[in-house]
Amino acid sequence: MTDTTNQAPDLFDKFDGIIHTRTELLAGGVEDPFNLVMERVISPTRAICNGRETILLGTYNYMGMTFDPDVIEAGKQALENFGSGTTGSRVLNGTYRGHRDCEDALREFYGMDHAMVFSTGYQANLGIISTIAGKGDYIVLDIDSHASIWDGCALGNAEVVPFKHNDIEAMDKRLGRIPAGAGKLVVLEGVYSMLGDIAPLKEMIAVAKKHGAMVLVDEAHSMGFIGEHGRGVAEAQGVLDDVDFVIGTFSKSVGTVGGFCVSNHPKFEIMRLVCRPYVFTASLPPSVVATAATSIRKLMQGGAKRAHLWENSQRLHGGLTKLGFTLGTTEPQSAIVAVIMPDLERGAAMWEALLKEGLYVNLARPPATPANMTLLRCSLCAEHSTEEVETILGMFERAGKAVSII
């Protein structure tokens, strides 16, 4: 007989709550919203999902660069000439010509002095935040910040002070209470991806500077689309020069994978030696940095596509409002349109009804969402045609009525 008295608990017991919620949801017969398989991808806006041809409206592939012929060609060439992977860290054998070229493309894109490419955007936040804010420093950040920002705070040793979402006064007060002599880093996002709302960066950055803080802005969801040159919300609001660090990703508008930080800080290059999530991981494959560099340079010329994406966003936002859905913002502020669901059950039912109509959107639910909301997040693509957006609205109308949400 085994003696159970000194047996330690199963480490998985802490997940029982979430296992239970998931089992209940699936027992209702819905297709698993977190286990969808794209069997074939036809274009940036179409795929075969679970056997059905589906319009993609939840990919963050804002500029539709994933099937751009120049991008694909650059990737193929790099794959042939440089192989399938670098098998090494950026600071050892993992910096190829392509990595340098990709960083050059970023410096051109932002008009900044320094660019550092990470293996993902998640790691860029993790690395930069945890490294520059050390013991005794203060990080002041928006409570609705992305997980990678929170994890960057958790990895480091700074004091972490959140403030209410987009609340300039709350941020001002907290900065004012930081003890004299302490280093200060303010972390903001251009577009908040849950509701698709933007930050009043102009006012917030002015407040941060008044207190002598350095400012990091995550522009993951605005790159390529918002601002005259697609540099993001800080550019659109005329304050990019006051941003000390821009964090971004290749996994949205750029259309591949990877992350970066650009900066004008004169000592920025030292990050390459002291930032552990940069040093202690392998660099991106040559084909990935080649596709990213080509895509970034094409995005600099993306004015016409940006205009069409705005049109799409306005059309979808206006149409859904007219149908009677509750949206995350009263006006379209980005390429994300978040539809607020009454609860998780009806959210999941609506998600499934849309999938059966042939439409994929993102289902977002607590705890990733603000105020414990269940959301159907739609992200538009510059490659969605006007007719496609009308088709999408028809799908929302039928599904919404079937699930009695409108």
Binding site: I143, E159, K164, K173, R174, N372
Partner: protein
Amino acid sequence: MDRSAVDTVIRTLIEPFNKKQVSIEDSTTFAGDLEFDSLTVMDFVAAIEDEFDIIISMNQQAEIETYGNLVDAVHTLQGK
């Protein structure tokens, strides 16, 4: 402000957040007894910070489990 004065102020501040009218002792826990979720914690902490003109960082919040811990922490912080 001495500890009991701090206690009196926090007792008033906690009222609107104590939806279930839980009776509050030094040993009352925020997550367990008061069932505060992360949003409630943020608003409650902000109310205290504004009242006492202090910062209670997330790092410090992690050490605060009970009402008594909170009164002690605020008492120490406002003395600085």
